[in-house]
Amino acid sequence: MTRGYLRPAAFSRLGFVVTGLLAAALAGPLVSFHANRILPGDPRSVFACLPPALAAGLVLILAAAMAAAFFGGGWPRLAMASLGIAALGIACGVAASRLTATGGSWSRVSPGMGFWLGLFGLVVLFADAAVRIRFSPRARLSLVFLAGLCLAGFFYSGIWRDVSVVREYDARAADFWREGGIHIMLAAGSLMVACLIGIPLGIGLKFSQALRAPILNLLNVIQTIPSIALFGMLIVPLSWLAAHLPALAKAGINGVGVAPAFLALVLYSLLPVTANTLIGLRGVPAPVLDAARGMGLTSLQRLGRVELPLALPVILTGVRLVLVQNLGLATVAALIGGGGFGVFVFQGIGQGAPDLILLGALPSVILALAAAVVMDALIALTARPAP
């Protein structure tokens, strides 16, 4: 059934989807022009805000991408999708610079609906190409690295300097990196603590039938509690502890801030790590264990050399889930003063400044996506049968 789909250069109906999106991108507003950062925007189309040569170039590239979506094999699709994304990025930057030059220094130019639709269409094309080419895990890792380099290149080249999000960044560059560091520390640090607790707990539950159901149920209930509710409720015990244990208060732990956020993220992370460790260990085939026993391995040696390595892909699947989930939940930490990219999101919501919301939301999304792709590749690498 899928063979026809993978045959290169066959007519593909995906072309209609991509063409629709890209046509809408060209017809819709590429950017929206705001007289200042709060006022609603005034839509500007590709042809209204780009020099004619550049507009023609963009149309040509997007048309080629449409053609690739109908008739191209995997590699032409990949090439046209990448080229299209780059062209859209350049067009947005140039349009922003041109409009800002005439609009004055208070004016803001943000990516418009056309830009987002076009980007979505090209990302769909890119994903389709990746599905067709079937990249190896290593190739996927390099691709993520390359995409990161390209993004950094665009960012530091200055071509986006007049795009509204970058203007917001310029106004608070130091804060941005500090909150970014906190965001990653919250997500990755809580994951590490959760692994230190959850993996031994999972191993323990393999041996204790009686504790298995109650503990997994408890962790399940915790997972069900909405993030902000858990964040909020942890404030109470933590402020009580800080009030009664001066040592904790001195260490900077009190009701609000990083501590309850970190603790909540650890609690959320425990279920996937613990449950997947248990599932992974139970999935080790009995003959393998028998063989290990026959070779004279002690139970500790079996655990370390046979069971855990074989369970690793399943454990990593849990880790992937947690990492992606935590990178998202860390955004909410800002509501209880825990910092992270959510600071900009909620500041932006408070000020009614969409650009500031984007400054917080975009890096959260990019981080979560990159983490998902990288973890998937790592899982595929470890799941390979030993040569």
Partner: protein
């Protein structure tokens, strides 16, 4: 053990209902958390109306996500849509990595404040788990059952309605449960963009430094989410049992 669990849930439900209907009678319990004579009970809007509107938003969004996601999954598992299966699967996989809060935040510039961005974010994000599980359900049907259906002379539509969907139902319900639970959490945060949900109480507590509000909002939302989750698990188990029966009937018939 089973009855203890049921009794606990009924007790939580009774407590939740009592608190939503007569919040003032719980004031003495919460007063210690309210510093400097601040009110112990949130009175800006009635807790009951917040809970109902919270539920309404989640239900509306989940219903819409279910229809669209199940429709998409059916489409890509038919020969006509098979071409799109690998792509939609990878797009759904990527989409699932986007944090729900970010989806909510990104909906605000496009739709403004209020209930609309929350609804849209809930709907969009809710699609993914349902699509994923429906797909798993529809593509892992026991081959013998499908063949038997064909052998009985069922048309494709009959097979879909009488065999495939009922057999996939437990998994579909699992996806709905996942997206409802995420939805309840996201809707809570939706109150930061002025959606009328229980999150309002927590946010008000955080803004005015009133722990009593934070605690009551947190407990109500948590109890709410856990109860809905349990209810959906119950429905799912029943469906699984029924699907098991259907399978057995066919196997013996």
């Amino acid at each position: 053990m089973r009855y203890a669990g049921l009794a606990l849930r009924l007790a939580v439900f009774a407590l939740l209902a009592a608190f939503l209907l007569r919040p003032q009678s719980f004031a003495p319990l919460l007063q210690p958390f309210a510093a400097n004579g601040a009110p112990a009970i949130y009175t800006q809007s009635s807790l009951l109306s917040l809970a109902l509107s919270h539920l309404e938003i989640v239900l509306a969004a989940s219903l819409l996500s279910t229809v669209i996601a199940v429709g998409c999954a059916i489409f890509v598992t038919r020969p006509a849509g098979a071409e799109f299966l690998p792509l939609l699967r990878s797009v759904a996989n990527i989409g699932q990595a986007c944090p729900p809060v970010a989806v909510l935040a990104l909906a605000v510039p496009a739709l403004g404040f209020g209930t609309a961005p929350t609804l849209v974010a809930l709907f969009l994000y809710g699609l993914l788990p349902i699509f994923e599980t429906t797909l798993t359900g529809l593509s892992n049907l026991p081959a013998a059952v499908v063949e038997a259906a064909d052998g009985m002379g069922m048309t494709k539509t009959q097979r879909l309605w009488h065999i495939e969907l009922p057999l996939a139902l437990p998994l579909i319900l699992g996806g709905i449960r996942l997206s409802v639970v995420i939805g309840i959490g996201t809707a809570t945060i939706g109150s930061t963009v002025a959606a009328h949900t229980l999150g309002e109480v927590i946010i008000a507590g955080l803004l005015t430094n009133n722990l009593a509000f934070v605690v009551q909002g947190g407990l109500v939302v948590a109890a709410f989410a856990v109860l809905v989750f349990d209810l959906l698990v119950l429905i799912e188990r029943r469906a699984a049992r029924r699907a098991g029966l259907i399978q057995a009937d066919l196997a013996f018939g």
